[in-house]
């Protein structure tokens, strides 16, 4: 079974072998270390000169890579921990993401910035966060997040090889070691893969990105729509199974891989049927991805949305201590509780 880490690593390998314009910059990305989480392992050996170990300069690296992209190459930046994206916020928001539109579509920025988010490893307040919410809604910036379903490596390699606009690619530390569930062969869930609608011309994200629909094999029609991304898909799966077998509550999981620009087609289709929508995320619950999802559902469905809920981390820093961290982050129990509450 392939893990998410292996899949991402081969996605990078594929991108490097397919297109000589692909470069990678990041801290400690060279072999034998191969990056703090090993996603780049083997790359610098196979493609010397195209993998560049950088100083600890997150803003500088992203700015440099934006310049590299403006001149027709396809740089990938690894930010060692997603927590440090804050240092590159200006380069992402006021530079890379703006160039295309403010230069009247006369320039493109095929840049991918990848980074791992997430807690549950006790790394504490500055190394455990899920910060993509602070970048959602940046005009010109596409945000993708693979989960352990389908083909994370393909999501990455296509962003690198076929994207023309900046992409923020959100990985998750715990996801890395998960085995990937293949839609065709998953033994627990019936998995349907559909494509998110492409945003309008002129808006980033004009590449197919999959949305996965998961239902427990052989279950009756779902009564709740659970939408989530990244590592939360795994927790949702566990909750869905237990809800089905322990409570006879049947849910459909809708797992997009593109967070922004948001496309809620599949979520709304499902929520129209169930009338009940829960948005899950690992980031702090306020002002996150789930807020946009629920808002769009409320706007689109009106009173047909019988119940809406969100679950995310508590609005607190992520503590280092295991028992405290477990209280702050969303878990299977809480997914089950919130689901039971609204049926």
């Amino acid at each position: 079974m392939t893990t998410v880490l292996e899949s991402l690593n081969s996605g990078l390998q594929r991108a490097f072998s397919t297109d000589a314009r692909v470069l990678l910059l990041g801290e400690d990305v060279l072999d034998p270390y191969g990056g703090a989480f090993k996603v780049t392992r083997g790359l610098s050996t196979a493609y010397p000169g195209r993998v560049i170990a950088t100083p600890i300069s997150e803003a500088g690296i992203v700015g440099l890579a934006a310049g590299i992209a403006l001149r027709g190459l396809r740089p990938v930046v690894e930010i060692m921990f997603g927590d440090f994206l804050t240092l590159a916020a200006d380069q992402l928001i006021n530079h890379a993401a703006k160039f295309r539109w403010m230069y009247n579509d006369q320039a493109r920025v095929p840049l991918v910035v990848r980074t791992p988010m997430g807690g549950r490893r006790g790394y504490g307040p500055t190394h455990s966060q899920t910060l993509e919410k602070h970048f959602l809604g940046t005009p010109g910036l596409e945000i993708l997040a693979p989960c352990a379903v389908g083909d994370p490596g393909k999501l990455l390699s296509e962003a690198i090889l076929t994207g023309e606009d900046p992409v923020l690619f959100i990985e998750n530390k715990l996801s890395y070691l998960q085995s990937i569930h293949e839609p065709q062969s998953d033994t627990e869930f019936e998995i349907t893969q559909i494509e998110a609608a492409q945003p309008a011309q002129g808006v980033p994200g004009a590449r197919p990105t999959p949305v996965y629909l998961l239902r427990v094999h052989g279950a009756p029609p779902p009564v709740i729509t659970l939408t989530c991304y990244g590592y939360m898909v795994d927790l949702a799966r566990q909750a869905a199974q237990r809800l089905a077998f322990e409570q006879e509550v049947f849910v459909e999981i809708v797992a997009p891989t593109r967070l922004a620009p948001i496309e809620t087609g599949a979520i709304l289709t499902s929520a129209r049927q169930t009338g009940r929508l829960i948005a899950l995320e690992e980031g702090g619950v306020s002002f996150g991805w789930g807020a946009e999802v629920i808002a769009r559902a409320a706007q689109a469905l009106g009173p047909r949305l019988l119940a809406a809920e969100r679950l995310g981390a508590l609005d607190l820093p992520i503590p280092s201590s295991g028992p405290l961290e477990a209280q702050v982050l969303p878990d299977v129990e809480r997914i089950m509780r919130i689901s039971q509450k609204i049926v």
Partner: protein, 307 residues
């Protein structure tokens, strides 16, 4: 053109004068409400733009900042499209989207966030190096912009990876209203040297002094040794429009001693000078009028999911 010929001197004068007239036209007409937003003119600093950019090769890249009109025109940009951009017209450099501080045409770029252009311009230089195109990049910075940390991240990487880039610091000793003494500790050249970047320094408004120094540094940069050039200069006008807090005597003295246009004019035959001025006046006038008459952009083509 041999660098001492009359033709050469006239060519330089034409460029300086074009920028001067452009900027004066901007300041003069701003109050009439024909332009959007704000603007930063380079009155007094024209020799930097012309001196540095006259020696540029076609494939070379320029990344400029908020005070970019002179750089754009010295690069060869069209005055009409720049007027039009300031007026928010469809014919503007960026169709009116960018305005004064956000330009892109051919290999010329600018952005209005201080300091952030440094890594981007340096990344461009590195890309060209990777492509073996032989192109170099020029990044313009102000003295005040030396306050931004990302610049130092960039200098480090430029030196480590030998980016073909020339950093030009236009030190007009002021940032908006803040004198350099209040914003800058230590020494400007030392800030580049500390990262292993060779630095030149000139205190002149004479374009013929800037040009060869810039040329030499640009070719050193092109050979993979990033360079810095500190140009001590004088801002004659306000920071943007009417926001000058400096004493008028100091300004007058500056204008008298350090006017790049006057300095270069003295090298021309009066008749040649007059001819250039007349022709340039006509160019600027026509450009301004044409831009004035250009249409505004039509409605944005917006898809449903943006609404």
């Amino acid at each position: 053109m041999p660098p001492t010929s009359n033709d050469f001197n006239e060519m330089l004068y034409r460029r300086l004068y074009l920028i001067r007239l452009f900027e004066e036209t901007v300041i003069e007409n701003f109050v009439k409400g024909v332009f959007y937003g704000t603007t930063h003119t380079c009155l007094g600093q024209e020799a930097n733009a012309v001196g540095v950019l006259t020696g540029l090769a076609a494939q070379d890249i320029v990344f400029s900042n908020h005070r970019s009109h002179g750089h754009f025109l010295a690069y060869g940009g069209d005055p009409r499209s720049l007027f039009a951009e300031l007026m928010g017209k469809a014919s503007g450099v960026c169709g009116g989207r960018g305005g004064s501080q956000h330009l892109h045409w051919r290999n010329f770029y600018s952005n209005g966030v201080q300091g952030g252009v440094a890594p981007v311009g340096t990344g461009m230089a590195l890309a060209e190096k990777f492509k073996n195109s032989g192109a170099a990049a020029v990044v313009f910075l102000g003295d005040g912009t030396l306050g931004e940390g990302v610049l130092y991240e960039t200098l480090n990487m430029a030196a480590l990876w030998q980016a073909p880039v020339l950093y030009v610091v236009e030190n007009n000793r002021i940032a908006q209203t803040t004198p350099v003494e209040l914003s800058l500790a230590g020494s400007i050249p030392a800030r580049f040297a500390a990262f292993g970047i060779p630095v030149g320094e000139l205190d002149t408004s004479d374009v013929t002094e800037i040009l060869p120094e810039a040329q030499a540094r640009l070719s050193a940069a092109r050979n993979g040794e990033p360079q810095a050039l500190i140009l001590h200069t004088c801002r004659f006008g306000p920071h943007s429009k009417g926001d000058d807090t400096r004493p008028t005597e100091a300004l007058a003295e500056m204008r008298c001693r350090r006017d790049p246009v006057t300095i270069q004019a003295s090298r021309l035959e009066p008749s040649a000078r007059l001819k250039i001025e007349r022709e340039t006046q006509a160019v600027i006038h026509a450009a301004f009028q044409a831009a004035l008459e250009d249409p505004f952009p039509t409605d944005l083509d917006l898809s449903e999911n943006l609404k």
